[in-house]
Symmetry: C2
Subunit: 334 residues, 2 copies
């Protein structure tokens, strides 16, 4: 059954001065925005924000990534300096950037765009034990939710999710396997671009972690056992944004893993999610398919940081603008 | 052989603080921008413009479109009033809009954003005779080139192509068939959404026009015989932009037809073209394949007006911004 605001959006599109259905996916997006806001036309996307949640991972000790853990800290400092890919793209697409230190091993210097969860400096090794306790995981969810709330309080009308965390595609693969039921082999990918030997190791680590965790599919315990602090924080962002009727734009595999957790915790979150792009990482496609989301962009990205979500922001903004601003057929020549 | 500015772009991408190749298509785009500008990093895309060329078509008399020809005039007046889909999206994506009346049957009222070619009020019926003389066609090309030059003089650093013209997917199909060698059957589509009977008629009209025109593949005579004034004008925009080393962003089927003509007239134009999106219209895909262009977006659009090109502008802008603004790996933690 279609939502009545989506129906209103479809009717409004049909009356605009353009051939019916001629804006394709843009029309579906606008209808979703109307459903989310419970008003048609939907509000303008005038103040979109990106939250990059960053964390480190005990499983890094298993050798699943060629990068040293310090890169997480250095990249967060680069976000603060406005010198990372996410900053360049955010500024080209008109998006405000905030960073959440959800649990970095070596905490970055203080900066006005960083908030700190203050829970722990990275997770435990999910290969050998639960990455977080349920209390730690809950605290990370709440830290993400709190930052989302603050950004919405100061005007954010769309929240894009981004991530930073060396080795974090390993917990993502584990979460995606757990929540979708797909095998470790299928959902584990090369992340930043690891070699064949490291990929084999990573698949084994993910499969072992899933075996260690067992059959428990309780969302919170699964997220705590297999996830990262940034995944939990991003799930919290999605939960808070949905509660405030603010659309959530997903990026790559790490944000998809967080979205699966958020939807498992609260199925109603699904209606607030928009898939920004299709990451090259196989787990991203598995997760999006499980959620039934069709991504806006497919540009062969695999960077994270929210870059793919950012690139989709002007398209979401345009979808709302068409429904708000375009003349009706009956107004032509009037 | 790869261009040396593209190689410089690839090298620069490799040194940035991100995994190698992780920005996928964005990196290819940035390399093309460097090649176009003959400098790396390429200039920022700070002042993109859209030129919507509008015209009417003698072949409308054959019944190939359900819309009255007056819609061309009314939609151009809607562009001027800022009330069309192109305006809403242009404003969401930060693009300036100009309109060229390349030859509208019932000329719209004067307005600061319109330029008028002043050649003729619509083409002749391409089903029974050449749509334009070569002189008329040349004049339309020059009118497009002149507007492109003026926009570049006043700062435009990227030009998106857009079109408006009731029945213009019929000349587009004829041009695409002629320039790609594909059959009328394959490249003729539903345009704004015609029914099966009208589609059959349209295919016959296109096939008849191709038979009338014969084997002559001289680019100018082919464009004059089978095209529209807006196609000629948009070919002129592409030629002038390429001559000024300004990237040209294609929209749907009508702009692809114009691009085929421009590349046939001057093969070097190809390097300046960026395909904004894949239109639903089959001729668009046939034309893009012939040109070897892979579109940035695939959002099932079939509106024209430059809408699909506009939606790709922030992605092109982002590609340039990454190469210009992102820190090198060697700068991390410095």
């Amino acid at each position: 059954v279609e939502d009545r605001f989506a129906l209103m959006a479809d009717q409004r599109h049909s009356g605009l001065a353009k051939p019916q259905g001629s804006l394709g996916r843009l029309e579906t997006l606008a209808a979703q925005l109307a459903t989310i806001a419970r008003v048609c036309p939907p509000p303008a996307v005038g103040n979109p924000g990106l939250i990059i949640a960053a964390g480190d991972h005990g499983v890094h000790a298993q050798g699943v990534s060629p990068w040293p853990q310090e890169i997480t800290t250095l990249m967060v400092e680069s976000f603060c300096a406005g010198r990372a890919s996410a900053n360049a793209i955010a500024s080209a697409c008109g998006v405000r950037v905030m960073v959440l230190d959800a649990g970095i091993a070596k905490p970055p210097a203080d900066h006005p765009v960083i908030r700190t969860a203050g829970i722990m400096n990275g997770t435990r090794d999910l290969h050998v034990e639960p990455a977080m306790t349920v209390d730690e995981c809950t605290a990370a969810i709440l830290a993400g939710a709190a930052l989302a709330d603050r950004m919405i309080d100061t005007g954010a009308d769309l929240l894009a999710l981004g991530d930073m965390g060396i080795a974090n595609t390993t917990p993502s693969a584990a979460l995606i396997a757990a929540f979708t039921g797909q095998s470790a082999d299928l959902v584990t990918g090369r992340g930043t671009g690891i070699d064949d030997r490291t990929l084999d190791l990573k698949k084994t680590v993910v499969a072992d972690a899933l075996a260690r965790h067992g059959e428990d599919r309780d969302p919170l315990r699964t997220l705590a056992s297999l996830g990262g602090l940034e995944h939990a924080a991003l799930a919290g962002v999605a939960l808070a944004a949905a509660a405030r009727r603010v659309p959530v734009l997903l990026d790559g595999v790490n944000t998809v893993a967080a979205a699966l957790a958020a939807v498992a915790l609260c199925p109603d979150v699904l209606g607030y999610l928009i898939a920004g792009h299709r990451s090259v990482e196989p787990g991203a496609s598995a997760g999006l398919a499980h959620l039934g989301l069709e991504p806006i962009l497919d540009l062969e990205l695999r960077l994270g940081e929210g870059t793919g979500a950012l690139l989709a922001v002007p398209i979401v903004r345009s979808a709302a603008a068409v429904l708000r601003e375009v003349a009706g057929l009956d107004e032509l020549g009037a």
